[in-house]
C-alpha cells in the first residue's frame, strides 16, 4: 500500500474534525476525497503531508510509519489551492527549491527543471516571476515544483478551486495525464463532484469528519450506502418504502395490520431523477408504479429536461423523506428526462401524471424514520423538537412523525392490543415512567426505541453496548448509521462477568475485535472498543457518569418481546432517571 491511514482522528478544541478515518491507497492510484466544505477533507490531507499533527491513529507511506515524522522528511508533493509559489523567486528557482535545499548540484537542478517544465508544457518560462503568469500556469508550476524531489505521493488540496471553468478542465486533463505517466499515488481533495468523476480511480466521500464511503465512481453512484452519499453524488429522491415478502411497496401498511399480513419493514429507497418514468396515467407506465403527481415546474436544461413534480394523494403514495421537500400538501420529487422522452409526452405545469420507477436502490441503512410517541400532541411536539431528534432528522433527511398513543401509560399487565408500534425509531420521553413506555413499545413490536429527555443537548459521545453476541451486528449497523450523522466519538463497550475464566476472556476479546473489523468493513465505521469485567448496569452507569451527555445504544437479541424486556431490566433505572442522556434500544431485527 502506498498510503495507509489507520483510525486517524484530529480534534480542534475537543471537536473531532477528522473522526476515525482509515483508508488505503494503492500504488499509482488516484483517490479523490470529496466532501462539502468543513467535512475535514483538507485537514486529513494536511495530516497525511505532516502539516497537521493528529491526535490519534497512524499514517504510513509505503509501509513506513510516518505518524511522528515531520512534513519535510515525509517526501510528499503538496499542491495548494492558491498555488503558494514563492513570489520573490523566478519560476526556475521555484521549481529548483526542493533540490536546492537538498544541496543538489547545479547541473542536476537544471536538468530536472527542464524536465519538469516540459512535463507541464511551460518550457522557456524559467526566468519569469510567478506574478507574470496566469492562474492556470501558476498552478502548473506549483505541480512541477511539488514533483521536483521525486515524491512517491502527490497530495493536492482543491488545486482547481481558484481557476475558471475552462482552464480548470484543461488543467484537469494535464494532471490526470501526468499522474498516469509518473504512476504516482495521488490524493486530491475537492468539493466538486464533476471533478471527482473525471479524475478518480476511487472516490472517498467525507462528511462531518468521517469517511462515509469509498469506492469506484460508478459503484458509489448506483449503489450508495448512505443518505448523504446518495444525495451528494448527483441528485436523488429519497423515498420511504415498505418491504414485506410480497416485495416493496410505497404505500404505508394499515394500522392495525390485517391478521394475515406478513411482517413489514420500513426501508429507505433512492430514486434517481433519471430513473423516474412519466406517463399520463398508470396504465401507460412500463415500470413500477410509485404514485400520481402534479407537475410544478419545467426547466429546459439543454440535453435534458428537469421537472419538479409533487405527489399529492398522500393516502396511496410514498411518504417523503427528503427534508425540505416534504410538506403537508405532498412531496416534491425531481425528475430529469431526455429529449426523446420529452417528445413522447410533453408536459406543462399543473398537469397530472403517473410516476413509475425504472430502478430503485434500497439503502442498507437500518434507520429509516422517526416517530415521536406520547399521549398528547403537545408532548409529541416536545419530543420531536429535542435537539438530538432535530439534528438526526435534518442530517438524515428524514421526517419525524407524531403518534398519539393514549395506551402507552397503561400498566403492561394487560393483553397487548392489536395496535402496532410505529415502524422505524420510536422516540419517547425519559424520566418517571420512561421504562414503562419503552416496555409498551417493545411489547407492541417496536424494534428501535429511543428514550430521551427533550431538554438535553446533542450528545458529544456515543457508548455502544450489546447484551448478547447475537445482538452485536445489528447494533453495530444502527450505531454506524447514526454515527455517520452525529459528529460524536464512539466507543464500543463489552461487559463480561467478573468471574469469567482467563481463556474465555481471550475468546471474548477476539469476538469483540472481529465485530469491530466487521463494522469497519461493512459500515465503513471505526469505533474504539473496550472490554470490561463486572456488572453491566454498574459499568454502564460509570461510563455515562461523565459530565458530558452521552448517547447509549443498547442492543437486545431478537427474542419474543417480553424476553427482550427482561434483558433490559438491569438498565431500566437509566430510563426512569430524569435528565439523563438518551438511550437507544435496538432489537436485533434484520
Amino acid at each position: 500500500m502506498s498510503i495507509e491511514l489507520d483510525q486517524v482522528t484530529k480534534r480542534y478544541q475537543a471537536v473531532p474534525v477528522v473522526n476515525d478515518v482509515s483508508i488505503e491507497v494503492a500504488e499509482g492510484e488516484f483517490l479523490v476525497l470529496l466532501g462539502p466544505s468543513g467535512s475535514g477533507k483538507s485537514t486529513l490531507l494536511r495530516a497525511i503531508a505532516g502539516l497537521t499533527e493528529i491526535d490519534r491513529g497512524r499514517v504510513s507511506l509505503h509501509g513506513r510509519d510516518v505518524t511522528h515524522v515531520s512534513a519535510r522528511e515525509r517526501e510528499v508533493g503538496f499542491v495548494f489551492q492558491h498555488y503558494a509559489l514563492f513570489r520573490h523567486m523566478t519560476i526556475g528557482e521555484n521549481i529548483e527549491f526542493a533540490l536546492r535545499v537538498r544541496h543538489a548540484k547545479a547541473a542536476e537542478r537544471r536538468a530536472r527543471r527542464q524536465e519538469l517544465l516540459r512535463l507541464v508544457a511551460l518550457e522557456g518560462m524559467d526566468h519569469r516571476l510567478p506574478a507574470q503568469l496566469s492562474g492556470g500556469q501558476q498552478q502548473r508550476i506549483a505541480v512541477a515544483r511539488a514533483l521536483a524531489h521525486r515524491p512517491k505521493v502527490l497530495l493536492m488540496d482543491e488545486p482547481f478551486g481558484a481557476l475558471d471553468a475552462k482552464i480548470r478542465e484543461e488543467l484537469r486533463r494535464t494532471i490526470r495525464q501526468i499522474q498516469r505517466e509518473l504512476g504516482i499515488s495521488t490524493i486530491l481533495v475537492t468539493h466538486d463532484q464533476e471533478e471527482a468523476f473525471a479524475l478518480a480511480d476511487r472516490i472517498g466521500v467525507m462528511h462531518q469528519g468521517r469517511l462515509l464511503e469509498c469506492g469506484k465512481p460508478d459503484d458509489l453512484y448506483t449503489r450508495p450506502a448512505t443518505r448523504f452519499v446518495s444525495t451528494f453524488l448527483g441528485a436523488a429522491n429519497l423515498l420511504l418504502g415498505y418491504r414485506s415478502k410480497d416485495g416493496i411497496r410505497f404505500a404505508p401498511p394499515g394500522n392495525p395490520a390485517p391478521a394475515a399480513a406478513s411482517p413489514v419493514h420500513e426501508i429507505v429507497t433512492v430514486l434517481r431523477p433519471e430513473e423516474v418514468e412519466l406517463a399520463s396515467e398508470r396504465k401507460g407506465l412500463k415500470s413500477t408504479f410509485v404514485g400520481h403527481a402534479r407537475v410544478e415546474e419545467v426547466l429546459f436544461g439543454g440535453a435534458v429536461e428537469r421537472l419538479r413534480v409533487r405527489m399529492q394523494d398522500r393516502g396511496t403514495v410514498a411518504s417523503a423523506v427528503k427534508g425540505a421537500a416534504a410538506s403537508a400538501d405532498g412531496t416534491l420529487l425531481e425528475v430529469t428526462r431526455t429529449l426523446p422522452e420529452k417528445r413522447q409526452l410533453p408536459v406543462t405545469p399543473g398537469q397530472r401524471v403517473a410516476l413509475g420507477a425504472r430502478r430503485i436502490h434500497v439503502l442498507p441503512t437500518p434507520v429509516s424514520s422517526f416517530s415521536a410517541v406520547a399521549t398528547t400532541e403537545d408532548d409529541c411536539a416536545r419530543i420531536a423538537g429535542s435537539p438530538l431528534l432535530q439534528a438526526l432528522s435534518t442530517r438524515m433527511l428524514t421526517r419525524i412523525n407524531h403518534r398519539i398513543e393514549p395506551a402507552i401509560v397503561q400498566p403492561p399487565n394487560g393483553k397487548p392490543a392489536r395496535a402496532l408500534a410505529p415502524l422505524g425509531v420510536a422516540a419517547v420521553e425519559s424520566g418517571p415512567g420512561g421504562a414503562a413506555r419503552v416496555e409498551w413499545l417493545l411489547r407492541h413490536g417496536a424494534t428501535q426505541v429511543l428514550c430521551l429527555d427533550p431538554e438535553r443537548p446533542v450528545p458529544a459521545r456515543v457508548v455502544i453496548h450489546a447484551v448478547s453476541d447475537a445482538a452485536l451486528r445489528p447494533t453495530m449497523a444502527v450505531a454506524s448509521s447514526l454515527l455517520r450523522n452525529l459528529p460524536a466519538e464512539a466507543a464500543f463497550l463489552d461487559i463480561q462477568p467478573q468471574e469469567l475464566p482467563e481463556d474465555e476472556r481471550a475468546t471474548q476479546l477476539r469476538h469483540l475485535l472481529d465485530a469491530r473489523s466487521e463494522a469497519a468493513a461493512v459500515h465503513g465505521l471505526d469505533v474504539r472498543t473496550e472490554l470490561r469485567f463486572g456488572d453491566s448496569a454498574t459499568e454502564l452507569s460509570k461510563e455515562l457518569a461523565a459530565e458530558d451527555t452521552a448517547l447509549l445504544i443498547v442492543g437486545l437479541p431478537l427474542a419474543p418481546a417480553a424476553d427482550a424486556w427482561q434483558r433490559l431490566r438491569p438498565i431500566a433505572k437509566l430510563l426512569d432517571a430524569r435528565g439523563g442522556g438518551p438511550v437507544l434500544i435496538v432489537r436485533a431485527a434484520t
Binding site: 494536511r46 503531508a49 505532516g50 502539516l51 515531520s70 512534513a71 519535510r72 522528511e73 515525509r74 517526501e75 510528499v76 508533493g77 503538496f78 495548494f80 492558491h82 503558494a84 514563492f86 513570489r87 520573490h88 523567486m89 527549491f97 526542493a98 535545499v101 537538498r102 516571476l129 510567478p130 506574478a131 507574470q132 515544483r145 511539488a146 521536483a148 524531489h149
Partner: protein
C-alpha cells in the same frame, strides 16, 4: 506639468503637488537652510576647530555608534517581538501589543528618568548588575539602553504588517519540499520581511541619532566619555556660542543624511526586486 499627470483618487495634481512642496519647505527645507547658512558662516579654519575638536569627535562617535548599536539590537529583538505578536495567540497579547507603543507616547525625559532610576548603581537592576561588575547608568551602555527603549516600537510596527502578509501556505509549501526551519526562515520569511525590517531599522537609527531627552539623564554627560552630540549643541547654546551650535548641527545633518540616503538606496534596490516579484 500635464505630462506628469496620472489618474488618481486624490483630485488636483497641481493642488497636491503644491501642498507637498509648501509643506516640505515650511517644515523641513527652510529651517534646514537656515541651519546650513548659520552653520557655515564662520571661516573654514574656525569651522574646522569646532568640528574636529576632540570633544566633538568623541560625541559623534557616541551618538552614531550608540544609535547604530541600538538600532541593530532593536532590529533583532523587535523582529522577535513582532513575530511573537503575529504568530502566537497567548493571554495578554493585546496588552503587550498596546505596550509596544508606550515609548512613542511617553515624554522622552520621563523614560530617561525612569531608566536612570532603575539602572543607577543603587537602583533595582543597577544594584544587581553592579554586583557582577557591570555599570549601565552613566556609561555608554546606558546611552544604548535608552536608545533601544526609544527605537523598539519603530521596528515592531514596521515588521508586524509584513509578517502578517507572509502566507502560512508558503511555509507549508517549503516544508513539504524539504526545507528545514532555518531554510524556511532564510529563504522564505526573510526575503518577504527584509524591506520592512530595514525601514524599521532606519527609523530607529534616525530616531537614535537625534534623541536627547531620555539620554541626558542616564548618560551622566561626562565630556569625552558619555556626552552625545545633541547635548554638546545644547551646551554651546547655553554658552551663547550659536555659531558652534549651528556648525555641529550641520555636521550631524550631513552625516545623518548620508547614512539615511545610503540605507534608502539599499531599500530601493530591495524593493525593486520585490515589486518586480509582483507585490
Amino acid at each position: 506639468m500635464s505630462r506628469f499627470r496620472q489618474p488618481s483618487i486624490l483630485p488636483g495634481f497641481g493642488l497636491t503637488l503644491g501642498f507637498t512642496t509648501f509643506f516640505l519647505s515650511a517644515i523641513v527645507l527652510i529651517p534646514l537652510a537656515a541651519l546650513i547658512i548659520k552653520g557655515s558662516s564662520p571661516s573654514l579654519a574656525a569651522l574646522k576647530d569646532i568640528l574636529l575638536d576632540p570633544r566633538a569627535i568623541a560625541s559623534y562617535r557616541l551618538s552614531f555608534g550608540a544609535a547604530l548599536l541600538a538600532a541593530v539590537v532593536n532590529a533583532i529583538f523587535g523582529f522577535i517581538v513582532a513575530w511573537t505578536l503575529v504568530r502566537y495567540e497567548f493571554p495578554g497579547r493585546r496588552l503587550v501589543d498596546a505596550l509596544i507603543d508606550l515609548p512613542f507616547a511617553l515624554p522622552t525625559a520621563v523614560s530617561g528618568i525612569a531608566l536612570t532610576a532603575v539602572f543607577a548603581p543603587n537602583g533595582w537592576l543597577g544594584e544587581k548588575l553592579a554586583s557582577v561588575g557591570v555599570q549601565v547608568a552613566y556609561t555608554w551602555v546606558g546611552v544604548v539602553v535608552a536608545l533601544i527603549l526609544i527605537g523598539l516600537p519603530f521596528v515592531v510596527r514596521s515588521v508586524q504588517p509584513a509578517l502578517i502578509e507572509v502566507q502560512r501556505d508558503l511555509e507549508d509549501a517549503a516544508e513539504t519540499l524539504g526545507a528545514s526551519p532555518w531554510q524556511i526562515f532564510r529563504r522564505i520569511i526573510m526575503p518577504a520581511v527584509l524591506p520592512a525590517l530595514l525601514t524599521g531599522f532606519t527609523l530607529a537609527f534616525a530616531r537614535g541619532i537625534g534623541e536627547y531627552g531620555s539620554v541626558v539623564f542616564i548618560s551622566g554627560n561626562l565630556p569625552m566619555k558619555t556626552e552625545i552630540t545633541p547635548l554638546l549643541i545644547v551646551i554651546k547654546l547655553e554658552q551663547f556660542d550659536y555659531q558652534a551650535a549651528a556648525a555641529l548641527g550641520l555636521a550631524m545633518l550631513v552625516m545623518s543624511f548620508v547614512m539615511l540616503f545610503a540605507i534608502n538606496l539599499v531599500q530601493a534596490w530591495g524593493r525593486r526586486r520585490h515589486v518586480a516579484a509582483g507585490r
